[in-house]
């Protein structure tokens, strides 16, 4: 084991932010969930005692009936903003004094960088390129992510948890978001930053990048496992497999939701429900394709003369 490579990646000036993010995200998760636990405890107490619920101020923060519900922005908020600006400025000055922005050789189209890595905040997308063709990983999925995020407020119709931290009232919403953000976005970005090396091959921490490493990856397409050779047959087979998977995953999601979250099903209208199941299925398709590729070496599920999935 030699952690020189990991150290080099970690201390690369352009990677300091992702190291920082790796510390800040768990911290803020803990920080947010700590508030959620306090509120959940209060909610349980009020649910058990309707008489108390009628008179309680319903916050876990310190409370006194004589206190005003609001405070003046000047000075109580503006002084905080001023101090925050000072702190951020001081932090940036130190960062800029001690770490130089990277500058490589002048651009040379004849000299390919290996690995050619995007900045860390795009490595989640670049990692998806391993599992899907560019038209899906680089075009369709980013658009689905943006549209999916924008659709969240119109699908999540629960009035609970509006403006306060809670876990127990919003397990499904928060769990789903965190799976997408932490696992499918941040974890892939970390994988792309710390594990991917030359040739976009996997070099685990403790391994040194080997620019001459050759891996004879045997990529197979799903239809080859079934011995299909005719182009039309392959296209039809792939279509059935892909659409079949999406339909089956949609059906399974629907079944699980109706069984375990009946109130969710009843509360949503059909347009909201269908879209939510659709986004969940597309979200699930990424890890499914990752497993197919990493564990079974399957590159394409659906091969046609025009596009591959």
């Amino acid at each position: 084991m030699d952690f020189q490579q990991l150290w080099e990646i970690t201390t690369l000036p352009d990677n300091i932010p992702i190291v920082l993010l790796g510390i800040l995200t768990p911290f803020f998760l803990w920080y947010g969930f700590r508030e959620a636990v306090k509120n959940d405890r209060l909610i349980a107490q009020l649910e058990a005692d309707p008489a108390l619920a009628k008179t309680h101020h319903r916050k876990h923060q310190p409370y006194h009936p004589a206190w005003d519900k609001t405070v003046h922005v000047w000075p109580y908020l503006l002084r905080i903003e001023f101090l925050a600006c000072l702190a951020v400025t001081a932090f940036l000055i130190l960062w800029a004094v001690y770490f130089n922005a990277p500058l490589e050789e002048p651009a040379d189209p004849t000299l390919t960088m290996n690995p050619a890595k995007a900045p860390w905040y795009f490595l989640g997308l670049q990692e998806m390129l391993v599992y899907f063709d560019p038209w899906i990983a680089g075009v369709i999925l980013p658009n689905v992510i943006v549209v999916g995020l924008m659709a969240i407020p119109y699908m999540d119709t629960s009035p609970l948890g509006n403006g306060y931290y809670t876990w127990k009232q919003r397990k499904f919403a928060i769990g789903g978001f965190m799976f997408g953000y932490l696992v499918l976005w941040l974890a892939l970005a970390f994988l792309g930053t710390f594990v991917r090396g030359p040739g976009w091959m996997i070099f685990w921490p403790g391994e040194i990048w080997d620019h001459h490493r050759v891996v004879h990856e045997v990529n197979v397409h799903l239809h080859e496992l079934f011995g299909l050779t005719d182009t039309l047959q392959i296209a039809i087979f792939g279509g059935v497999a892909t659409i079949g998977f999406l339909a089956a995953a949609g059906g399974a999601t629907d079944f699980a939701l109706r069984k375990y979250k009946p109130e969710l099903f009843r509360k949503m209208n059909i347009v909201q429900y269908v879209h939510m199941v659709g986004f969940l299925v597309i979200m699930a398709a990424l890890p499914v394709k990752m497993v197919l590729k990493l564990a079974f070496g399957i590159k394409y599920v659906w091969v046609t003369p025009w596009f591959n999935v």
């Binding site: 923060q61 925050a84 040379d108 960088m113 063709d133």
Partner: protein, 293 residues
């Protein structure tokens, strides 16, 4: 000394009187600068510590009037917002300032771009510092935008009446990342060149409007008329791409970001200020609310 006649020329005695008056006035102004005409012409309210003046300090100031006069007393706790949205905006201001400073020394041409960076790095006073600060503030802004979104999600702040503002926020997040991406090419070094080459190569594969995308060639997309060509102003990352990245980075995207920020901040106010910490709602109350409907 009172002049006998308004039309008389003021004599030496009157001039001496004026000089003494000047001394008195300056002493008075120094003692209480807030009572001067100058101060009052700028800040049009009194300064003694009264609730009305505290409110006016915010409401009568063009820069501060983004804020309401008062906020939820628990909202100023760090535990609720983590300050991430505000810090994001401050970082945008830092980036505007350092970015304008860098623009004085940068030519978006293949002949000059890389040399200008070397010049900034080695010769321009504080050039390296400004470039470093611009770079790190940009990275920090990505972190704070993502963390802000995580906080907004965790507090359910996208729920009514703030659904639309969440959408504006998603667009701002996207614009932030596009700003970073377009800025990456500007030093014209290997790092930026290959990152942008890899990034824009994906656009080739856009369905219909990419020349390697599904059904693209079938409807006539080539490397010289597809979406990637439009992004780069050519079929390779070269001089036109550098100019386009520069214009997007320094003019177009900041304008877009500015417009959406105006809407974002305005909507925060219009949607009832910051979302919380709100009083908790009980699941048992939801059913009764539905029954009433």
């Amino acid at each position: 000394m009172v002049p006998k006649n308004e039309l008389d020329t003021p004599g030496l005695g009157e001039v001496v009187e004026k000089v003494q008056e000047a001394k008195d006035l300056h002493l008075k102004w120094l003692k209480n600068p807030f009572e001067t005409e100058l101060w009052r012409s700028i800040f049009r309210h009194k300064v003694d510590d009264a609730p009305r003046n505290r409110s006016l300090a915010v409401l009568s100031n063009v820069f501060l009037h983004l804020h309401p006069a008062k906020v939820n007393r628990d909202a100023v706790r760090y535990t609720f917002t983590w300050g991430m949205g505000g810090i994001t905006f401050y970082l945008f201001l830092v980036l505007t300032f350092t970015g304008v400073a860098l623009m004085f020394y940068y030519h978006p041409t293949k002949a000059d771009a890389f040399r200008d960076i070397l010049y900034l790095k080695n010769d321009v006073p504080f050039g390296n510092f400004m470039r470093n600060m611009h770079r790190w503030a940009a990275h920090a802004m990505i972190i704070t935008v993502w963390t802000h979104q995580m906080r907004v999600f965790m507090t359910g702040s996208y729920k009514p009446p703030r659904e639309f503002n969440w959408n504006v926020g998603v667009i701002l997040l996207l614009v932030t990342m596009l700003l970073s991406f377009t800025g990456y090419l500007l030093p014209d070094d290997q790092l930026g060149f290959w990152a942008v080459t890899v990034g824009t190569n994906m656009a080739r594969a856009t369905p219909l409007i990419g020349h390697e995308g599904p059904l693209g060639p079938e409807i006539g997309a080539t490397a010289f008329n597809d979406i990637r060509f439009a992004m780069l102003g050519g079929s390779i990352v070269d001089a036109n791409a550098l100019l386009r990245a520069y214009i997007w980075h320094c003019v177009a995207l900041p304008l877009v970001a500015g417009i959406f920020m105006i809407v974002h901040f305005w909507r925060i106010r219009k949607d009832g200020s910051i979302s919380g910490p709100a009083p908790v709602m009980l699941a048992s109350e939801v059913k009764t609310a539905k029954g009433r409907r």
